[in-house]
């Protein structure tokens, strides 16, 4: 039985400071115009390889970043400012010539893709000293085989290993600087308790991350100081399975009575607060630092033309006062202002498949929920064996209107991992990447491409053209009037779909590892398996597995559209395909009766209707078989599937004209694997039933179903039990990933009117959680639509 804890006075003070001060202040961006090569004494570095220079850049950060320690906190370390939307700053290390060269590839020093949780337990358990030993051993081994190997390759590898050591030195430096700071403050401090705490921080940082951690505080500090340095050098990293990394230190401490549960909560709570200090709620206060090349490790660029498009896109990261609120720029502005891919996952199994959920799993969920923090976005791995104790905590957190934790169904996800060549015990260690995708910490280099199926449908109607830009992105499969049966229509649709999938697959293979040329990361590599043994960078060939995902985007809208076409045109023959096309081109103007019929009379995905759902089942099956085919054809990557939009459903809908399901031109897509908002009058259970009919076993990356439920339906003890039933039902039905936002349309509407009263209201946005009042009005309305009237 879970009891609700009072937050300790310390955590209350920390939370208060966070929300009243940190959230309101714009933060400094360090190292904006620094290039380490421009420092006179660094002239010699120009002769070194790029990875070595990167290591020196890391060291530069460690030596120069300010080391503030705030009141009341037990865990220290403040990373440089950054965000997915507004970019990042780090010392540059390329020469002008190199920059020009990489620019043509769309790359720069900033082309780090983040997304991958390293194996954080390596730094916690081994410490810098342990890792140094491993690297040195490998360096020695390499000298021995030097003669027999290709000279150039050996140099690359030894450089990578050298860079790993250099960046570990940097990490040590940063820890020492923080230790010095703590000592300095301790001497000045008047209060006895705080003096002791500061001395404790000093001691902790003298010990870790240099050596293996012994206590909970050391483990957490070792973890966070390492994160601090990585994040300050441009990485957007998930936190992985934090409860698993920390539990043994917690148990030791409790067992030896070094600390009690309350003190453990203070340590974990202080750490969770640190994860949020860089947030600024008013996105207009952010200073954009988006430059070409940022993130291009994720987004695959093929030609120079694309690079130019990307540079123009930068404009979108400014708020345009001269444009109306709902202009393309302003509508989506600020959506990812605070997104740093900081997710974590608790619960799940150990490598033998035993339930590994522990005291910390629940504690982390409780603390995030009680302090209403934005980060880390927390997920929980569950199964039929999940204990009631954890389930209660999960249900309470969801009920309190957090939109979190995200629920991962172990059984279903592990089944899909078994389709890849990844060992079962590694798969059991899966966690989340920066959003919700499943990924295994420390071993997987991961990236994805979007397959917008609704665009594919548009190609069928318009000879392969995308109406918005007029560009010919698909295939010209002839006149739609020739498609006399639904099967013919569907075949052409598949042809378009496969054409896009083929193209994306090719780009994924061609661009694999390309970002490591300009933006290697030796510090990240040292925390990942196999990189030391191979002497390769994590972003290059170093990672053990290279997963690439084709993500089916626009699922619900596509399935509904296909159903409308099937029923209206080919089965009931109410109108011809040409007439339907005409109505879509008119964006339904003058076709109101047809639109009403489509919206209200044709069953949709999410209605729990077997016939309707069979269309979706077929789409997933055909998508999966193409994934399997492409996977068999690739050697350097393992291709997986998934269904999702992240929180970008509005942005990606903005590329597609009106669709056959009655969707207006350029309207948002339905989020992730969820039914179209407003359609699902049959309620959440029907949505779950619809979503669990298809075989999702090739969708390894995940298929999150986002549900919105009214919080007033889950009040009291019985409400909690019902919510647990809902979660258990989802797991029983073999669903994969589930998010539940419990609030009400009334509450949201009121929050639009009186934002100041609803500062803490968080909503789930597909990939992350956001404070509702921070969103643009257009987005707020979309979220309200999700609620059944």
């Amino acid at each position: 039985m879970s009891t609700s804890y009072e937050l300790s006075p310390r955590l209350k003070r920390l939370e208060c400071r966070l929300k009243s001060k940190d959230y309101k202040q714009p933060k400094p961006w360090y190292f904006e115009n620094v290039n380490i090569l421009n420092i006179p004494e660094n002239e010699y570095l120009k002769k070194e390889s790029i990875v070595i220079r990167k290591a020196y850049a890391i060291r530069y950060v460690a030596e120069h970043i300010p080391t503030p320690i705030y009141e009341d906190e037990l865990i220290v370390g403040v990373p440089n400012q950054s965000s997915v939307e507004f970019g990042m700053c780090m010392p540059r290390y390329l020469t002008e010539d190199e920059r020009d060269y990489f620019r043509r590839l769309g790359l720069s020093e900033l082309s780090l893709s983040g997304h991958h949780p390293p194996d954080w337990s390596r730094i916690i358990e081994k410490g810098i000293s342990g890792l140094r030993e491993e690297v040195s051993k490998q360096l020695l081994a390499m000298t021995k085989v030097r003669d027999t190997n290709n000279e150039a390759e050996v140099e690359n590898e030894t450089d990578e290993l050298r860079a790993m050591l250099l960046s570990l030195d940097g990490l040590e430096t940063l820890a020492i600087r923080y230790a010095d700071k703590a000592l300095e403050l301790a001497v000045k401090e008047k209060g006895k308790t705080r003096k002791q705490e500061l001395l404790k921080i000093y001691e902790t940082l003298c010990h870790v991350p240099d050596r293996p951690a012994d206590t909970l505080q050391e483990a957490v500090q070792s973890f966070w100081i390492t994160y601090t340095l990585l994040a300050s050098c441009g990485e957007f990293l998930p936190l992985g399975r934090i409860d698993q990394y920390l539990i043994k230190y917690y148990l030791d401490d409790i067992h030896l009575r070094r600390i009690d549960d309350e003190q453990a909560r203070d340590i974990i709570g202080s750490f969770l607060i640190k994860c949020n200090e860089r947030n600024v709620l008013d996105a207009k206060k952010f200073i954009p630092h988006m430059e070409y090349g940022t993130f291009s490790g994720v987004i695959h660029y093929v030609s120079r033309e694309d690079t130019l498009i990307y540079e123009n896109k930068n404009r979108e990261h400014f708020y345009h006062d001269d444009e109306p609120e709902d202009s393309v720029h302003n509508k989506y502005f600020g959506q990812e202002a605070n997104n740093r891919m900081m997710t974590c996952v608790v619960g799940g199994t150990d490598s033998n498949g035993n339930d590994a959920a522990n005291r910390l799993s629940g504690m982390i969920i409780e603390l995030i929920s009680e302090m209403r923090l934005l980060f880390p976005t927390v997920g929980v791995r569950m199964s039929k064996n999940t204990k009631d104790e954890l389930l209660n905590i999960v249900a309470d957190a969801i009920r309190s209107g957090q939109g979190e934790p995200v629920i991962y169904n172990d059984e279903s996800i592990l089944k899909s991992f078994s389709k890849l060549s990844i060992t079962a015990d590694e798969a059991r260690n899966y966690s989340s990447d920066g959003c919700w995708e499943t990924i295994i910490p420390g071993v997987t280099n991961f990236s994805y491409s979007l397959v917008n199926t609704l665009q594919c449908l548009e190609y069928v109607f318009n000879h392969g053209h995308l109406l918005k830009t007029g560009a010919m992105n698909g295939l010209d499969c002839g006149d739609i009037r020739n498609l006399t049966t639904y099967d013919m229509f569907y075949t052409v649709f598949l042809k378009e779909l496969y054409y896009v999938m083929d193209a994306l697959w090719r780009i994924n293979i061609e661009n694999r590892g390309i970002s490591s040329l300009s933006a290697p990361d030796p510090l990240l590599s040292v925390l990942c398996d196999d990189c030391i043994e191979s002497g390769r960078d994590f972003y290059g060939d170093g990672a053990k597995y290279h997963l690439r995902c084709l993500l089916l985007t626009g699922f619900a809208d596509t399935v509904d559209s296909l159903n409308v076409i099937k029923k209206l045109v080919y089965e009931d023959r109410k109108i011809t395909i040409e007439e339907l096309h005409g109505a879509m081109l008119d964006n339904w103007k003058g076709h109101e009766r047809l639109l009403a019929y489509i919206r209200n009379r044709i069953p949709k995905y999410g209605d729990n209707d077997v016939t309707t759902d069979s269309t979706g089942i077929r789409l997933i099956k055909d998508f999966s078989s193409k994934i399997i085919e492409l996977r068999k054809r690739s050697y350097s990557i393992q291709l997986t599937g998934g269904i999702g939009t992240f929180h970008m459903y509005a942005l990606w809908g903005d590329t597609v004209h009106a669709s056959a399901n009655g969707r207006q031109a350029y309207d948002a897509l339905a989020p992730n694997y969820s039914p179209v908002p407003g359609n699902s009058e049959k309620g959440p259970l029907a949505a779950i039933m619809s979503a669990t009919r298809a075989d999702l076993s090739e969708m390894t990356t995940g298929t999150p179903l986002d549900l919105s439920v009214n919080s007033n339906e889950f009040e009291e003890e019985s409400g909690r039990e019902r919510l647990k039933d809902l979660i258990r039902g989802f797991i029983d039905m073999d669903g994969q990933i589930l998010t539940i936002t419990a609030t009400s349309a009334e509450e949201l509407k009121e929050a639009m009117l009186y934002p100041e009263k609803h500062k803490d209201l968080r909503v789930r946005m597909g990939g992350l959680s956001a404070y509702f009042i921070q969103l643009a009005p257009a987005q707020q309305e979309k979220i309200i639509e999700r609620f059944v009237p």
């Binding site: 009766r593 029907a686 889950f714 809902l726």
Partner: protein, 320 residues
């Protein structure tokens, strides 16, 4: 076998344990002034019209087979007496502006809908609740439906005001896990005034039922100025206590969420200006009920009685 069913609502959390699928029946012989489903009082379906959704396209008029819909000024006038319930107008109104309060549904259809959420019934005895209107007015259908559900292990509940022949109640006793029985008023004069009937049938039926069935939850709609005075409320309590085997009392505070239905169904609503029941009174009534030894829940969301072990039915095999 068919019955007039208004709707089959999934994911209900206020009509019994777990998640309920609630089947609303058409027809009720009471005329409670505060009724929240007034469109279900008539024994047969009635026409509903949502002006906000109407585009004035006139498709309903064209579809009408008996000229029951006629142009009148800028709108369309509905002659209720001419309507043959052919429902062609509803069929043509794609916007859902014109529709009927209920439809004739087969037992097979209702069963199929009820079983759709079966996967979620397992843990806390979720299941099916019959409500209305007064479901027991169509007791043969109720019996067949409940019996089919029970035979595959699904929990059943019936919400009734008991204003039916006792035989109708008797028929479903065996297949009903829990009865939600409305007790509205004891005062005979007030009953005449507010319920449209001063018959003792409801109270007598409850006495009879309580001798044969041990899982009855009493629901008291708490209506401002009608039964929330201390004297009347205590009379209700004493009456329930006298039944001997009642454990749960649920207080259903008056609210105005059903007001729109009066507009849609074009029925005069007398309690328009009454405010929702206030919390202080609700809590007081709750305390009084507790002092009589009942377990009290407000709003009907609470679980009642210990959970019966529900066997999970694997395949949703339709009982024949």
């Amino acid at each position: 076998m068919k019955a007039y069913i208004s709707k089959i609502q999934h994911f209900n959390v206020h009509d019994g344990n777990g998640f309920r699928t609630t089947v609303f029946f058409q027809g009720c012989n009471l005329r409670c002034k505060w009724c929240q489903n007034p469109e279900l009082q008539n024994p047969t379906p009635i026409m509903m019209y949502d002006k906000a959704l109407c585009t004035g396209c006139g498709a309903c008029m064209e579809a009408c087979t008996n000229k029951a819909l006629e142009p009148c000024g800028e709108g369309i006038y509905f002659h209720a007496f001419e309507c043959t319930l052919c429902m062609k107008c509803e069929e043509q109104c794609f916007n859902g502006a014109r529709f009927f309060s209920s439809h004739k549904c087969t037992l097979e259809y209702v069963l199929k809908e009820c079983l759709k959420d079966e996967a979620f019934y397992v843990y806390h005895g979720g299941g099916v609740t019959l409500s209305g209107g007064e479901p027991l007015l169509q007791s043969d259908f109720c019996f067949s439906l409940l019996h089919s559900l029970k035979s595959i292990g699904i929990s059943t509940a019936v919400e009734t005001a008991g204003y039916v022949n006792y035989e109708a109640i008797e028929k479903v006793i065996e297949d009903t896990d829990v009865f939600y029985y409305d007790v509205k008023l004891i005062d005979r004069g007030k009953r005449k005034k507010y319920l449209g009937s001063d018959s003792n049938l409801m109270l007598d039926n409850l006495v009879k039922l309580s001798r044969l069935h041990d899982r009855i939850v009493i629901r008291i709609p708490l209506i401002p100025g009608v039964n929330d005075s201390e004297t009347e409320y205590i009379r209700i309590m004493k009456y329930i206590k006298s039944l001997g085997n009642i454990r749960y009392v649920q207080i259903m505070p008056f609210h105005q969420l059903g007001m729109r239905k009066y507009e849609l169904a074009d029925i005069n609503y007398e309690m328009k200006d009454i405010d929702a029941e206030n919390t202080i009174k609700i809590n007081k009534c709750s305390d009084i009920a507790k002092s009589y030894g009942f377990e009290v829940n407000i709003g009907g969301g609470g679980f009642v009685y210990e959970l019966r072990a529900v066997s999970k039915v694997k395949e949703t095999g339709m009982p024949t």
